[in-house]
Assembly symmetry: none
DNA sequence: ACGATATGAATGAATG
DNA sequence: CATTCATTCATATCGT
């Protein structure tokens, strides 16, 4: 999996000053350690939320709380949390695509997503005091998988270390040209740009914005 | 996507020089960019419109003109302009959401008060046309900058600047301070994260947050 | 030191 | 307008 982040940066209650961030002791006026370097505690919590609770895309409200909570362990901002979830989700998905690619095709979904849900939040006979409201995110449907990973504290021991993982692999091929009037590749309203090769716009309009586009236009804007 | 991802972008009439897209450096054999990579000039103009003129959601005809104008500096389509404004606006608001939503519902909409200042990031000198060797500047590979573009032209010529000036005339005081010819055009949303180095807990906290992860799902209703 | 990988950050493009 | 996905850039970190 990812390499276990072993060094602790500023953490502990109340956080600390600037993160030392290792790198170079001396930080010039350059980019003061630009990016956020999560502490192990922060990561642990984030992962718990992600895997244990199925939090995938926390709402703004949740992000605030999460970041507020995590701030105890080090400097953190809302955007960090936001990005973390975004990235984590994206990468997980990305990796997964490579692991079981090539197949797909007919069978829609062979394996359910890895969704480590120790407790199916959404169910479980409604624990006392908590209304079983459906989580807003709920990207993972699975719920009663016995093969749960003992996340929780254990995970904190070695950071992360579960789930399978593939090396990042980029393909330089693909680019199945979807052009020239083949199948519908989706919606491409904005075709008329002109600069591009295809100058035909099959769709008169499909977007609120385009409704206006067809009008006015008093002076012809030179196009390409 | 649709249009043939030509690597070369046609010049729109002698205005600017070769548009060496900011991102450049096709990391890989990525000949199919598919997505619009705004040039520094384009970004600059867009920001100019956004901040200095309060353009937030340009109308279709405006979009057409803007894109037509920007085409001088590189390939661009109407949708790019449209999306740009949409995104820029959305992210600006999003940033605000993450930093203070505090369900307390009080005064959060009053003064956006955008404060573009984060770390002592460089950006001080802003020599004309010279990128200040900032490690993070990625959009500045232009060695032969065309020249200072007369941004004002756009509005003056077409005179749509005042049209929607009325619309949003709130926080357009700041001038984005985009350096004139390159360098980081990035804007720092997400600023007021607070706790940066302070280690103070700005929020009264005590949410039913991590105590029981599942709680987070009930936050919606449960709230604080 | 480098190169590879992991991952934070940014943003274009879409969708609801 | 809000949210989300995908792709890419930038950089911290680790391995050799």
């Amino acid at each position: 999996m990812e390499q276990p982040p072993q060094n602790e940066q500023e953490e502990g209650g109340g956080g600390g000053g600037k993160n030392s961030s290792g790198s170079n002791s001396n930080y010039l006026c350059r980019q003061t350690s630009t990016r956020w370097t999560p502490t192990t505690e922060q990561i642990r919590i984030l992962k718990e939320l992600y895997y244990n609770n199925g939090v995938r895309s926390p709402t703004a409200d949740q992000i605030q709380r999460i970041s507020a909570r995590l701030r105890q362990y080090g400097k953190i901002e809302g955007k960090n949390v936001f990005y973390w979830f975004q990235n984590h989700k994206a990468r997980e998905r990305q990796k997964k695509r490579f692991t079981n690619t090539t197949t797909t095709v007919a069978s829609d979904q062979i394996h359910p997503n890895i969704c480590y849900n120790k407790y199916p939040i959404i169910n479980t006979t409604t624990p006392p005091g908590v209304a079983s409201s459906t989580p807003s995110s709920s990207s993972c449907s699975n719920s009663s998988t016995p093969a749960m990973v003992a996340v929780g504290q254990i995970m904190g021991s070695y950071g992360y270390g579960s789930v399978n993982m593939e090396k990042s692999f980029r393909d330089c091929t693909i680019s199945a040209g979807c052009n020239g009037g083949g199948g519908t590749v989706g919606h491409n309203f904005w075709v008329g740009g002109g600069a591009a090769g295809g100058g035909v716009n099959p769709y008169p309009q499909s977007y609120p914005f385009l409704e206006y586009q067809r009008r006015i236009n008093a002076m012809e804007i030179d196009d390409e």
